[in-house]
Symmetry: C2
Subunit: 490 residues, 2 copies
Amino acid sequence: MDKITARAENFAQWYQDIVQQAGLAEHSDVRGCMVIKPYGYAIWEKMQQQLDRMFKETGHENAYFPLFIPKSFLSREAAHVEGFAKECAVVTHYRLKNDPSGQGVVVDPEARLEEELIVRPTSETIIWNTYKSWIKSWRDLPLLINQWANVVRWEMRTRLFLRTAEFLWQEGHTAHATRDEAIEEAEKMLDVYARFAEEWMAMPVIRGFKTAHERFAGAEETYCIEALMQDGKALQAGTSHFLGQNFAKAFDVRFAAKDGSLQYVWATSWGVSTRLMGALVLTHSDDNGLVLPPRLAPLQVVLVPIYRSEEEQAATCARVQEIADTLNQAGIRAKADVRDTQKPGWKFSEYEMRGVPLRLAIGPRDLEQGTVEIARRDTREKWVQPLEKALEQIPAILESIQAQLLLSARQRLETNIRPADTWEDFVALLDTRGGFVAAHWDGTTETELRIKELSKATIRCIPLHNPSENGKCVLTGRPSKQRVLFARAY
Amino acid sequence: MDKITARAENFAQWYQDIVQQAGLAEHSDVRGCMVIKPYGYAIWEKMQQQLDRMFKETGHENAYFPLFIPKSFLSREAAHVEGFAKECAVVTHYRLKNDPSGQGVVVDPEARLEEELIVRPTSETIIWNTYKSWIKSWRDLPLLINQWANVVRWEMRTRLFLRTAEFLWQEGHTAHATRDEAIEEAEKMLDVYARFAEEWMAMPVIRGFKTAHERFAGAEETYCIEALMQDGKALQAGTSHFLGQNFAKAFDVRFAAKDGSLQYVWATSWGVSTRLMGALVLTHSDDNGLVLPPRLAPLQVVLVPIYRSEEEQAATCARVQEIADTLNQAGIRAKADVRDTQKPGWKFSEYEMRGVPLRLAIGPRDLEQGTVEIARRDTREKWVQPLEKALEQIPAILESIQAQLLLSARQRLETNIRPADTWEDFVALLDTRGGFVAAHWDGTTETELRIKELSKATIRCIPLHNPSENGKCVLTGRPSKQRVLFARAY
């Protein structure tokens, strides 16, 4: 196994080392596209399952819409096309043919599409084109639909999970009779995301909304959850958009209201993606590898037998297998690694690298004395205790790990939100401490862009329920009524 | 609700009516691509969950590989590119720009890809290109991976679920140290598919292998399961391929064997798709709508309250809701439809159309007498019985429906395999009875193609464990050692 670069030495390299060495993902030979490896995909599946459960509990159904979007659809909503046109994969032909020169295949020029198709960067347009025939009356509303899908945005600089040309995500697309109901939906789904981040990923987030400049292309309001990574950079972990009637108007989706009038439908859309995998790594892992919150760990407890003789091997392997079975029956994801092709030390490093929350080791002396050695991945504590007692306590230990990870991350988040009232303080905080800087801003996009240019910090969000406070913009000195959160971000 | 065309009148239209009116899927405005609607997707999710469970039980893990395949990858395996080149969606550009004439957007000619990318029609090439770096030693084998994904094959004539340009599927891709182990894997996964078809879809299948002409492009052997639809046409429901060392050679994937020698890896791939949704409809449904086997039904029991007065409404709604809760707690997927915007008669038709296996209706008299009216979707039987007894029996009734659907389909399959020894009989059977015709064939592709041209029947499969029998080819009279199964097919 290769060594992981220390965070203090090179944080970006540390991240890449973990993603690769823990078997989460790797770059493919297709520019910007990643391969999600089995262990990484197993974690993503756990995320999917829980999110899907939360979507269904809040009344949503899944459906599936086409991968391709006719070019003309994308153009219907002006801000939307402006936002996505520069990063589109475009299908222009539908056939290959043998190269006349006899070498391989070439695109058949006669198989040119009349209208180019865009590989979906997001599905508002194709979905609202479909909703046109689904929504006729107030009885058809609300329409609460989610889609699990792959999307493509042609990114020039990519990083595994954090920014890739193709990524996996879910996109909710809902339709409502009233403005208020749509806003309520957008806020409800933001809350679902925040609860998922905190309760499952053990990743505390700030709930807020984006400035006009940072809004989703086509939205009237973009809500977001923002998290803080270990290197002090912010990461946008999920967004929920109130789309107003923009897409309903672009695709002429109207419904007969109870009073008989014909009205445009109100919309939301919301999504999280495999980017959350990157956020998970950047929140909890350490210089020894991945650290996983137990609720998302594909494997929660690994058991390793320690032996010298064949007799000891038989006895310890039988015992760890028996314990693994007992744990599995109790609903804990446990595995006994009884391979004799690898030494215990190798296995210890391997499962440490993979972030398995608890490791149990059993040797001949443990068999005699009825004990077990337990090692916690998050704190790296180790202790020996009676096996029976250990088995009883494992569910509680897993819960404690989950809680402790959230607590640590929350402390880091809370101590890394600092006010700045002068431009010097603002820049100094960003340069020396990182984290979020709460500062006054004059509310103009011009200033927002100028601050970004000068400091590389963007406005991550205007927190929900943000307190009013009179102040002066940190850059221009113009009057401001509230602080907003700036940070350098992923 | 529109009426469904009767099967006897127009079978193809009947199919389309059911798919659309039961809310399974519809054509999108993107040529050849369908929208899978929430109810259809809910059934597909049930299929996915069970298949995924079976894959994991047989030791497979999920992963995810890129949507795009560089054109040159496709060309590496000669038979493979030959099989897929004519139906490829080709990405040639990665950016749009504003139309200089001021109208919408156009493809930016300066954003042309150096090498075109193909939207995956299947993933052998991109996966084997990745396996090259994953497989070094016998210790890395077997590699047992599955992917849930969308794929695109540019079909000119499409039918919802049965043949669409984009479809959803799973594709297993495994790597093995020996030929025997790979063949065993291909056969094991064929068995998984057959068990899934029979135990979950209640759809009996014939297990066999394809002729050389019908093999997957790049396979040495293609195993398949073939089912029989109600109109006497066959449907290929799943395939499992033994790929030999073809892809290992094309992508230079070799491993150090235990004896130290460097050997090419042996491969399989196997897949089923949303086509199974079409097969499900065509196997069980009737002139009143969809019929679903209980194991795949998103909703197994629907409860409808019958009332006139407000008082009756309150009482019957409370009772059906209470029963639905009881059933849900017992692990049965039940729902009380207490909407007062629709009449009971409308609800009855709606759930009949959607193939809900059991309907329970409760009116004021049932409240008084402690009874319930039960209606079975498959047999359309109705009876009244004491509620308590009914609740006790519902699990058994659902199992009986599942078993009865399989039995009926099996009887239809078995009575529709008929031998033919002369060309006249062969054609007459296809024209008058449909189904499978077991006939001798001289083993040449030439004869196979000629028979197809003359009769529109193809060789569906050579059944596994096919008995030897000396005979003469039904077309050419040349000697043959076994009968093979012909049919007209979807």
